[in-house]
Symmetry: none
DNA sequence: TATGAATGAGACTTCATTCAT
DNA sequence: TATGAATGAAGTCTCATTCAT
C-alpha cells in the first residue's frame, strides 16, 4: 500500500511529542476543512487556520495538500473498516443475515463519513496518487465479496450461471452507489428500510432466501 | 432546469451564422479538452487554442468555464438519451429482453462517453450549478425505472415487498456504477458478458425470468 | 547559440506592436534593475514596477527571471561587440596599434557596461543556463585572439614557443579581469594609461614592438 | 579588517571544548555544502545536517549564513597563503624561477580550492561584507607583486616605462583569471604547460629572461 | 465579432530566524 | 549548550476575466 509514498518525508515516529500533537491537529483540521469545502476548494491556509498553527508549520509535516489528503483518507479507510466489520464474533450460518449485517454496517459507516466519501468521490480521477487511493478502498470490498460469492457457489448455494467477479462489482456498486445517492446527493431515504431493500435485492439477485421483517419493525441504527 | 442560468447571456438564436460556427467550435473543443485534462486542469486558453480562436473570443459566447461545461454536459446528456433509447420501435412484451436492451444501450453509451463521464464524476459535488446538472442526468434514469417497476408490480410481475423507488435507485446505481468501474477505473471486463451478468442480476433481483444465452454467443455490440 | 532555448515560448515576431513595446519595456527595466540590485536580489516585481506594468504581464513574455536575464545579456553581448569593434575600416599593418585599439575599445565598452558586467560575473556558475551564457561571451574573445596569434606566428612575428591557445586565454584574462578590477571593484585607474600599460604588457609578452606615447599625452577616451 | 564584524558574537576562545568542536564541525560542513551547492542554494539546514547537529545549534555559533561564509573564506584565505608560499627556504636569485614557482603554487592552490573559488566568485559583488572579503584576498597578491616589480625596476631589471601598479593588477589578473577559466569553467588544460606558458608571458611582459624547459620535460606538480 | 495584451488576486512553497524546552 | 518545532514574510507563478482596439 506504499505507505512511504503517501506520507511526509519525516516519519511520525521521529517526531517529538509536541510535533506529533501538531501533526495530528493538522490532519484533524484537514479532514474538517475537506468536508466543509471539498478537495479543490481547500487551501493550505484553511487547514493551518483551522489547526491554529502558522502557515509554514504545514510544510514541516506535509509536502503538499495531496499528501495530507492521502493521510486523511487512510484514516477514513481505517474507520470504515472498523465500523463496517463490527459484530465480528457473530458467525451465523444465515447468509442473508450476514449480508444484511454487512449492508447495515456499510450504510452506517457511510453515514458517519458521508462528507468525506463525497470528497473522495470528487477527487481527481486524473491524478495518479489520488486515483490509487480510490482503487485501494474499492478493492477491499470487491475482492472480499467475490471470494464469498465464489464460496457460496462452491457450496451450491448460488447459481453458477453467475460470474462471481462481475456480481461482486455489480452488487458492490449497487450498495455503495446507493449510499452515495442517499447520503451525499441527499435523496430522501430511511436507513433501515434502505438496508432491508438493498439486502432483499442483493439476496434475490443471487438466489438466496431473504424475508423482510414484518412491517413496522424499523430497528433504528 | 433554469436554462438561462446554464447558457451564455447571448441566446444562440440571435447569433450570426459565423457566430454560431465559432460557438460550436468552442463547445466541441471544450469537450475534447475536458476529456483530456479533466475539469480542474482545463484552462480557458486550452479551449480557445483547441478551437483555433483568440483568447478573448471565449467570453463573447460564455461567461465562464463553468457555463461552457454545463453546455458540454447538456450535449452529453442528449447524446446519452439518444444512444441508449435506440431500437425505439421494439415493443416486445419480454421484460427481460427490454431490460437487457436498456442495459446494453447504457453500457454502449457509457463507453462512447466514458471520459466525459469521468469528468462529470470529478466535478464538484459542492458546486450548486454543476451539482444540478448531475442530479438531472440521474433523475432521467431513476424515475423512468421507478415507473416501470411500479407498472410491473401493478401487473403482478414483481413482488410488492420491493419498494419501487428504492429498487430503482439501487438497480440504477448497480448499472451505472459498474459502468464507471469498468470504463473509467479501467477494471477489465467484456462488454457483452457485462450486459448479460448485469441483466441477470437485475432480473433475478426483481423476480423476473431471464435466461443467459447459450455460451459462446457473444453478440458484439 | 540556442536562441530558442533562451527566449520566451512566444516569439517576438508574433507579437503585436503593443506587445513588442511592452516586451521591450520589460527588458529595459530588467537591465536597469539588475544593474542596481544585482541578479539575486532582483525580484520580478521590481522589474514590472520599473516597467510600469502589472505583475502578471511579466509572465506574458518571460517564463522566469532567468530567461529575461538571458535576453538582457544577449543585448549586452550585441552592444559589446558593436562598441569594441568600432573603427572597422582601419586596417593598419601596425599590430601594436591594432592591439591597442582593441584594448581601448574593450575598456570603453566595459566602462559603459560595467554594472552589467559585474552582474554577469556574479551569476551562478552552478546554473547551467547562465553558465552557458557566460561561456558564449568568453569564447567570442578568446577564439578570435587565438586565431590572430596563430596567424602572427605563421608570419614569423611571434615566437613559436608560445602556445596560441594558452596565450589567448591568459592575455584575454589579463585584459578582461583588469577591467573588472578597475571598473567593478573600483580600484583607481586612468583609462588611457590603463590602455597603454595593458597594451605594453600584451605586446611585450608576445614579443611585438610597442612604444608608449611620450608622457603627458593622455588622449582621453 | 573588522574581525568582530565577521565572526559570531561569541568569541571562539570563550567556548567550551565541546563548543569548539561543534563550531568547527559547522564550519567544515559549511564549506562542503557551499562547494556542492553554491552560496545562494545553500540553506542553513543543509549545513546543520551535514554537521550532524540540530537546526537551532547553528545560531548558537553564527548569526547568519553570511557570517559562517565569511569564516569559511577566511579559512580558504589561510590555506591559500600557506599552500602558495611553500618552498619558503628557496631564495634563488633567478627571478624567472621565482615567478614560475609562485605561479605553480598559485595554480596548485587554486586547483585544491577550485570549487570554493567558484563560490567566492559568485558571491554578491553588491554585498559589502562579502565584497570586503573579496578585496582582501586580492590585495594580498597584488600588493606583493607591485612591491616586487618596483624592486626589480629599482634594480634596473625591469623597464621603467612599466607602471608597477598597473602591471601588478594586469599580470595578477592574468594568472588568477586563467586559473578560473581552466579550473572553474573547465576549459581543458595541462597544469605544467599552463605554468610554463603563463610564466613565459609574465616574464616577457616584464622583459625578464625565461627559457621553457626542453620539450617533454613535464615535471608533474 | 474577433483579437490578444493587461490585470491582479490568489495560491503555493521556502527558509532564515526565533523560541520554548 | 543543544534541540527541533513554530513562525511568517517574501517570493514565485497561474489564470480567469477585463478591456482597448
Amino acid at each position: 500500500m506504499a505507505r512511504a509514498m503517501r506520507e511526509s518525508a519525516v516519519p511520525v515516529s521521529s517526531l517529538t511529542l509536541r510535533g506529533q500533537r501538531t501533526r495530528a491537529a493538522l490532519v484533524k483540521a484537514a479532514r474538517a476543512v475537506f468536508e466543509r469545502r471539498g478537495y479543490h476548494d481547500t487551501r493550505v491556509v484553511d487547514i493551518t487556520k483551522a489547526a491554529g498553527v502558522a502557515y509554514g508549520t504545514f510544510y514541516t509535516y506535509f509536502d503538499s495538500k495531496e499528501l495530507i489528503f492521502a493521510e486523511v483518507v487512510e484514516e477514513l479507510h481505517r474507520d470504515f473498516r472498523a465500523e463496517s466489520s463490527s459484530d465480528p464474533e457473530v458467525t451465523s450460518d444465515d447468509l442473508a443475515a450476514r449480508i444484511e449485517r454487512t449492508n447495515r454496517g456499510y450504510l452506517r459507516a457511510y453515514r458517519k463519513n458521508a462528507r468525506m466519501m463525497a470528497v473522495l468521490d470528487q477527487v481527481d480521477t486524473f491524478n495518479p496518487v489520488l486515483r490509487d487511493i480510490r482503487l485501494t478502498l474499492r478493492h477491499h470490498w470487491v475482492e472480499r465479496s467475490a471470494h464469498m460469492i465464489q464460496r457460496w457457489q462452491d457450496a451450491g448455494l448460488v447459481d453458477k450461471a453467475i460470474d462471481a467477479s462481475y456480481a461482486a462489482t455489480a452488487l458492490g456498486s449497487m450498495v455503495s452507489r446507493s449510499a452515495f445517492v442517499w447520503l451525499v446527493l441527499g435523496e430522501p431515504y430511511d436507513e433501515e428500510q434502505a438496508v432491508q431493500q438493498v439486502t432483499l435485492l442483493y439476496c434475490r439477485a443471487l438466489g438466496l432466501p431473504y424475508e423482510l421483517p414484518p412491517e413496522g419493525d424499523t430497528r433504528s441504527s
